[in-house]
Subunit: 239 residues, 2 copies
């Protein structure tokens, strides 16, 4: 974030106008070889152009073409463990950053490593989701796009976050449990089946699928690029 | 946050150059009454000034005077309940906002009302402080000044937050407990003395005073305005 003082702008404007007027006078002199005409043209041009520049700026200020206010969005990816949320989140974040937007990626698992005492009971999960949602809403308020990937299995806490945010896009990464368990990238399903992990979503804890998510992605059917495209399609009116 | 497309900038530059060249030609014609000279001066001036404008911009880009990069800071107010943290936090935030900076105020008590399950045991407090600190550090990274007011009684969690942030200014609101208890604005000290509140900092839970805080304020000695001035004095090199 840069800030230019108004003094800098004034000095810069004067230095430009000075150079401009001298250039005009010299060119007029080259063509006319008359110093009085050159100085008169330069002087009148200098005064006239300051007014014209001001009016030109004011006019363009009313023209909306090519200028749009950036309204950030909280993109919330919900789905089972291993459904492909984090991969999609990273891809969406990268695509937004490439457009010069401010982006923050909040990964539920990564935030858990910063706060290792967060458990997996319904109460602990709910608190975790609400806190990440609060963080997202604060960042959104300050002009940052936020891409969150959390299992976030319960309606109530997801709706809590939706209400905190101004623009909320819920993406249900709806890869079915059979496929997630087949992939089992982190070996968590095997451990949950053996009873080594309690309250595991889809095994011994429910996943309440979103009722009206803005986007639904089944990663068996679409690749990361196509899925990213579908999320961005939904963000089109904001970016 | 506004974003102008490069097309808008190009169209605007051309519309300005066009108007400028026409104005110069008309002025030259008024003085010389020769259309050929007027067109020639206008044309040469148009081409020449585009190059000159570009060089003028490049030159100014190297001049640092009047331009400074804004580096946000996390201002962390720690102190006993009733020491005056929240009042000072609001005053500092208002002063920063008045300078056109992005500011977020994070009040420990207010965040607790959003997450009512946060307790007051050492573990709960530590987790709360670290989470608020994490939120602050994310906002800082995205160009937002953050003013936090939390009792935050323990070294360890305050140092955890210091390490998360890039610029961290610890303000010890060092109003002594006798004064805080005398004020007892929220009636909490009376309740703690009656044993109705457990783990109350200063009564039956320790307050580990900062060892090397950037600023120390005793609200018995300085008013809000003066205290705000002292905090801002410390932020001078950032704002």
């Amino acid at each position: 974030m840069y800030k230019e003082t108004s003094t800098r702008s004034i000095v810069k404007a004067l230095s430009w106008r000075g150079l401009g007027t001298i250039a005009t006078s010299v060119i007029v002199w080259i063509f006319t070889r008359r110093l009085d005409v050159a100085v008169a043209v330069g002087g009148l041009e200098g005064l006239f152009k300051i007014c014209m520049f001001y009016l030109h700026e004011r006019l363009w200020d009313r023209v909306r073409i090519g200028r749009h206010q950036i309204e950030p969005v909280v993109v919330w990816l919900t789905g089972l463990s291993g459904s492909g949320k984090s991969t999609l989140a990273q891809s969406v974040s990268a695509a937004l950053a490439q457009r010069g937007l401010r982006v923050e990626t909040l990964d539920g698992d990564k935030i858990r490593t910063i706060f290792p005492n967060t458990g997996f009971t319904r109460q602990d999960r709910d608190a975790h989701i609400k806190r990440v949602g609060f963080l997202a809403s604060r960042l959104e308020q300050h002009g940052v796009f936020v891409v969150c990937s959390l299992v976030s299995p319960y309606h109530e806490s997801r709706d809590f976050v939706r209400k905190l945010c101004k623009n909320f896009v819920e993406v249900h990464v709806a890869t079915p449990i059979e496929e997630c368990e087949r992939r089992d990238t982190k070996g968590l399903y095997a451990r949950a089946r053996r009873g080594e992990i309690k309250n595991f979503t889809g095994i011994d804890d429910p996943y309440e699928a979103p009722i009206r998510p803005e986007v639904v992605i089944d990663t068996r059917e679409v690749g990361v690029e196509q899925a990213t495209g579908r999320v961005l399609e939904h963000l089109k009116r904001y970016i």
